[in-house]
Symmetry: C2
Subunit: 211 residues, 2 copies
């Protein structure tokens, strides 16, 4: 198909498609003449992955590039790909990481993981994110919220067995790879949306008299 059809089928505007081509996120089409190129379903599919990562995952263009490099690297073991997706989604670290309060929170994060017997990389970006949240809760005097940590850890451990099982059940590697990336980003969006809805429902039941 022509670039104009690629734009129409994907719902991505023509200037944005051209921008992704220039940035190398989208591979060039097959040249069919001066200023003319032919695109196929692989371009369409890649375009949809890019939009999902940006629109739903809130990734930067640099983050998308990092994930796509990992997706296209046939040598990279699936487990490392998961780490790459997590790093890209983690985004820019907070400026004040490294102070004594943050270091204490980082040790607390490592202890939580060790207490559960979880085997994770000692530099996993999610450990830093957990420390960010713990440090912020303590700074704000909201550390009673940390009573939820055990409940969260048990729930996520149980869910992870299903989540990783779903991805591994896929036959081919390319599809497993897409599942890892989209499952991390979009699965998180589904989970947090449901959490807010469950809270609204529970809060209505506990704070308002039944109608």
């Amino acid at each position: 198909m022509k670039i104009s059809e690629l734009s129409r089928h994907s719902g991505v505007s023509l200037p944005t498609v051209k921008y992704y081509l220039r940035e190398g996120l989208l591979p060039a089409g097959r040249s069919t003449g001066r200023n003319q190129a032919e695109y196929d379903v692989t371009h369409l599919r890649r375009l949809r992955l890019i939009r999902a990562l940006i629109d739903v995952g809130n990734l930067s263009v640099a983050g998308v590039r990092q994930v796509l490099l990992a997706v296209d690297d046939g040598e990279l073991p699936g487990h490392h790909l998961l780490g790459t997706a997590h790093e890209a989604i983690a985004g820019v670290p907070r400026a004040d990481r490294g102070g004594p309060a943050w270091q204490a929170a980082r040790e607390e994060a490592a202890r939580i993981v060790a207490d559960r017997g979880w085997r994770v990389h000692e530099h996993a970006p999610a450990l830093d994110q957990l420390a960010d949240a713990i440090a912020a809760l303590r700074e704000l005097g909201q550390q009673d919220m940390l009573a939820m940590v055990d409940g969260y850890a048990e729930a996520t451990e149980r869910l992870a067995v299903q989540e990783v099982g779903l991805v591994l059940a896929r036959g081919d590697r390319a599809s497993m790879v897409e599942g890892l990336v989209t499952g991390t980003v979009l699965g998180e969006a589904v989970l947090t949306a449901l959490r807010r809805l469950a809270q609204e429902h529970t809060s209505a039941g506990l704070t308002e008299p039944p109608g």
Copy 2:
């Protein structure tokens, strides 16, 4: 304390403190002379809440303003405050909401909630977020991930009882209000960080031979 001490104690740079004052996020200090004002622990505490919402919750300045207005509105019932916090965190809607594929996803989101008997506002922003994620999964051909919805809904429902209970257990209204906002934003950060760690642990166990 002086503005320079407020900056030092909070770890927020002086130009940023002045910016928050100009933007009205931080109330003015008590004037003690020309270009001199005195700040107290309420300013320090507010400053920490602002930083947590921006650094950990990724809220825009406009989003922070919206949440702070709700926090300071003594008339607003706690339940509505939760909705305000969710709306601020929801951020800018995707441009392509409203197309037929998105509408179908939105109806699917409403059905998921209705099937569980959850009482939520029909315009709850989290319903739109759930629809965004469902639409993106379908567009990407990753709809097998939707098999996780039941597991997510059960887990979040169980956790919400504990979460809302923790906030309601607090004595005074101001502290409940802060707990609602920070619990939504920072609790989500704790939960998603733990989810990624649990996935890494499970993925290592399922894809690598034990060492």
